[in-house]
């Protein structure tokens, strides 16, 4: 049995804890590490595990629920949903994604990574995406 996906809180990250949690769960779903029907820890359980306030985890779950990734309707834990097609990003949203990738690549280059290594990393990130 493979190890379950994990979520980490990095205190030095510029992103708030609720965004870090939501981003990592979203990534785990997109990369098929979490499958539709999988049950996530309850808000209380994950908050204790990560040492953050209950509201922080609840906000992350609510955000992912609003995006259609999670079902939090039964009020206990959260369940991964088989996400139905959503509206595609419009031009301005696409531009925002492009800018974020651009900034990320620039940061990686700034840290001394070779273009080939960056390209490999981006391709690896795409592997397993449904």
């Amino acid at each position: 049995m493979s190890a379950p996906p994990v979520v980490s809180i990095h205190p030095e990250s510029p992103d708030p804890a609720r965004k870090q949690i939501a981003d990592q769960i979203r990534s785990a779903i997109v990369e098929n590490l979490l499958m539709p029907g999988d049950e996530l820890p309850s808000v209380r359980r994950l908050a204790i595990d990560l040492g953050v306030h209950f509201n922080t985890v609840a906000e992350s779950y609510r955000l992912l629920s609003a995006e259609g990734w999670l079902d939090i309707s039964h009020g206990k834990g959260a369940r991964v949903l088989r996400r139905t097609a959503t509206s595609l990003p419009d031009d301005s949203e696409r531009e925002e994604f492009r800018q974020r990738i651009r900034h990320l690549v620039a940061e990686m280059r700034g840290r001394g990574m070779e273009p080939l290594a960056i390209r490999g990393m981006l391709l690896t990130s795409l592997e397993g995406i449904q």
């Binding site: 994990v6 979520v7 205190p11 595990d49 990560l50 040492g51 953050v52």
Partner: protein
């Protein structure tokens, strides 16, 4: 050698056992921690860290020798205060040695803030088992029934405390409080064990990797401790019925041996764990390196940084309520006994 001499020898060797544990404590503890401070593997292997550890161990060794000598003196002269004073001097002195070593270690704490990681799984086996936790209470209830059935066979007056020479110096009588009292105390202790187990299962962070094994070994240890306490107080309570078979001098070494056997799996799991997978709490929340106070952390219990097992997060109001309640019960009993 009768069992009292054996028990006395055991009492005298207690400071030696405690001293050994205290001297080895910081290194027996998992990797990545030294004197309750998160440190890098590079620094913990440095000459400076070695010098701090060596100075600490020398102090503990000196304290241990003093405590053993005092205990032996107490046993030879049958002086209870000297016997009890040995471990007290050792623990008091240890606190000074430990805080001094911690103060020297703190400037070398790992500058990287701890990264908390959690597994994204809903359930985490083995869960709390209500039936298994009832076992010690069933044992105590069975002892209570046995005493009721053989009430007339209980002596009107029976010994409950012995001096170091094995001579009874404390007595109780065949009353409900005198006979069933140990069962009530046992039930209270078993209840605290169950609550501790619940606190760990539902109120402590589930760590990933090797830390997970340590957590479940600790839960198992608490459950087994509950069994041991149930058996111990059941034996103590029925002992007046069997004064020749159930001798108190044999009870102490049996309990000590059982305790060691229960603790070993947790120490082994702690020693084997990879430092990167341990539960990560901030150094600043550890007061004196012993008490965890972090109001921002919703956990009720966290793993200890010194010794084995779990401790309360005193920044959680529930922990304060439970601590006050647990302290109040014995205090109320003592006051009630004194004035009734």
């Amino acid at each position: 050698m009768n069992e009292f001499k054996f028990g006395s020898g055991l009492i005298a060797s207690m400071p030696l056992l405690i001293g050994t544990l205290l001297a080895l404590g910081p290194v027996v503890k998992r990797r990545g921690l030294m004197f309750s401070v998160r440190v890098t593997p590079e620094w913990s292997g440095s000459a400076e860290a070695g010098a701090i550890l060596q100075a600490y161990r020398l102090q503990v060794a000196a304290l241990t020798i003093s405590a053993v000598l005092l205990s032996i003196l107490g046993l030879l002269r049958a002086t209870d205060w000297a016997v009890a004073g040995g471990p007290l001097i050792l623990l008091g002195g240890w606190l000074f040695a430990f805080t001094a070593a911690r103060r020297q270690t703190l400037p070398h704490a790992d500058p990287r803030p701890p990264v908390r990681t959690a597994a994204l799984v809903g359930a985490d086996a083995p869960e709390f088992n209500a039936i298994q936790t009832l076992v010690p209470f069933v044992i105590l209830a069975a002892a209570g029934c046995w005493l009721s059935l053989h009430w007339d066979a209980i002596p009107a007056r029976f010994p409950t405390h012995w001096d170091l020479a094995g001579k009874a110096n404390g007595w109780s009588s065949r009353t409900a409080a005198g006979v069933d009292g140990p069962l009530a105390i046992g039930a209270f202790i078993c209840l605290t064990m169950v609550l501790s187990e619940l606190g760990i299962v539902y109120g402590s962070p589930r760590t990933t990797g090797g830390g997970r094994t340590v957590r479940w070994q600790t839960v198992k240890m608490m459950r087994r401790m509950g069994y041991l306490m149930g058996v111990m107080f059941a034996v103590i309570s029925v002992a007046p019925l069997y004064p020749h078979q159930l001798r108190p001098g044999l009870l102490a070494p049996a309990i000590l041996l059982a305790t060691i056997l229960m603790v070993v799996p947790v120490i082994r799991a702690s020693s084997a764990v990879d430092g990167s997978t341990v539960e990560q709490t901030p150094d600043s929340a550890w007061k004196l390196g012993l008490f965890y106070y972090n109001p921002a952390d919703p956990a009720l219990m966290v793993e200890k940084r010194i010794g084995i097992g779990y401790t309360f997060n005193f920044g959680n109001p529930v922990a304060l309520i439970v601590t006050v309640a647990a302290l109040a019960v014995p205090i109320v009993i003592v006051i009630w006994k004194r004035f009734s």
